[in-house]
């Protein structure tokens, strides 16, 4: 009898534990249903930072030129000054796309803060004097357009703990520099603060 009770109790416990899980499922990437963790920059944080950065950049008119020509923008580096391993490309790619879509500027992939985004521009010029290729179709030296402006930034994280409360403050700073003068034509930052209260025990 005792064995049956123990078996039943174990089965009930197993059922209860397995009932707590959720099957893997997709969520809408634009929704607020993603996971929120204090220590990391979650996908929603990137989206918010990009949206606010884009709104500020396009409102500023800093990309407009007096000569009517479109600004050529290069994406420099977003320095990661946090303790986390983060890929800032999510932010820079969204800004790059928004700038392109606005029609105010063109972005170059031939040069970037960490080298060329697309090394093909350089590689195709190495085909000069290669017998395999019709030389009249090879891209000539001196035809690529150099950038006028550069987008750079830094992400800083500050952690605070008080009792059971934990907090992370992310400061995402962005700068647009005129490469001719070295002057910053636009600067802005996005602040994200996340808090959690850790449970007294367990999970």
């Amino acid at each position: 009898m005792r064995g049956i009770i123990i078996t039943l109790a174990l089965s009930a416990a197993t059922l209860l534990i397995s009932g707590c899980g959720t099957a893997a499922h997709r969520i809408d990437a634009s929704s607020n249903n993603g996971l929120t963790t204090v220590d990391d920059i979650n996908f929603k944080d990137w989206q918010i930072a990009a949206e606010k950065g884009i709104t500020s950049l396009l409102s500023s008119g800093a990309l407009n030129r007096k000569d009517g020509r479109k600004t050529i923008l290069m994406i420099s580096t977003i320095k990661n000054s946090t303790t986390q391993h983060i890929n800032t490309r999510i932010l820079t790619d969204k800004i790059r796309q928004a700038v392109l879509r606005s029609g105010k500027a063109l972005t170059t992939t031939a040069v970037g803060g960490k080298g060329a985004d697309d090394r093909a521009s350089k590689q195709v010029r190495d085909l000069e004097n290669d017998d395999m290729f019709n030389q009249s179709t090879v891209q000539q030296a001196g035809t690529a357009i150099a950038p006028d402006m550069s987008l750079a930034g830094e992400i800083v994280q500050q952690k605070t703990t008080s009792g059971r409360m934990r907090e992370s403050y992310f400061f995402i700073h962005m700068t647009l520099t005129d490469l001719k003068t070295g002057l910053a034509m636009w600067e802005d930052n996005v602040e994200i603060v996340k808090q959690e209260k850790t449970p007294l025990m367990g999970w």
Binding site: N32, K44, Q47, E51, I54, L58, S59, Q97
Partner: protein, 153 residues
């Protein structure tokens, strides 16, 4: 009678703990606004009672981009409303918004982000929600606002 007094005292104490926003501003305004006539569809009666859309202003920038500013106020202040906000845990009130942009043919213009942006609104406070069109082809807009239940405390 004793219980009634106790409950009333508790309510007053709770209200004293609530923080609402008090404002002061210049009376004679210098700004020249370009208001937009609005067409609203409210599907959430709770949101409608809490957040009042006061006005919508539009500016077309010299580069052709459309800049929109929506001014809204959190109406949940006053004795009963503050008890309500304390009970519902919506102080500050958490909302989330998203702009959609339409071209001259009414077709939606995709943006690079197109995401819901969270925002806190203190009782009595007036907030301004800003949006800028992704390109000069955009002629109209639509702002969607909803409660951000996930961020509720």
């Amino acid at each position: 009678m004793k219980h009634v007094l106790l409950i009333a005292a508790s309510c007053i104490m709770l209200c004293a703990c609530q923080s609402t926003v008090n404002t002061v501003e210049n009376k004679d305004k210098n700004m020249q606004r370009n208001s937009v006539d609005t067409s609203k569809i409210s599907t959430d009666s709770f949101l409608k009672r809490r957040l009042k859309i006061e006005r919508i202003d539009k500016v077309e920038q010299p580069d052709g981009l459309l800049k929109i500013q929506v001014t809204a106020q959190n109406l949940r202040y006053g004795f009963w409303d503050q008890i309500g906000t304390w009970f519902m845990g919506d102080n500050p009130y958490q909302i989330t918004y998203r702009f959609s942009w339409l071209d001259k043919n009414g077709m939606e213009v995709k943006t690079a982000t197109n995401t819901w942006i969270p925002m806190s609104v203190m009782p009595g406070d007036t907030v301004r929600i800003m949006g800028i069109s992704p390109n000069p082809r955009c002629k109209d807009f639509l702002l969607a606002i909803r409660e951000n239940i996930k961020e509720r405390q």
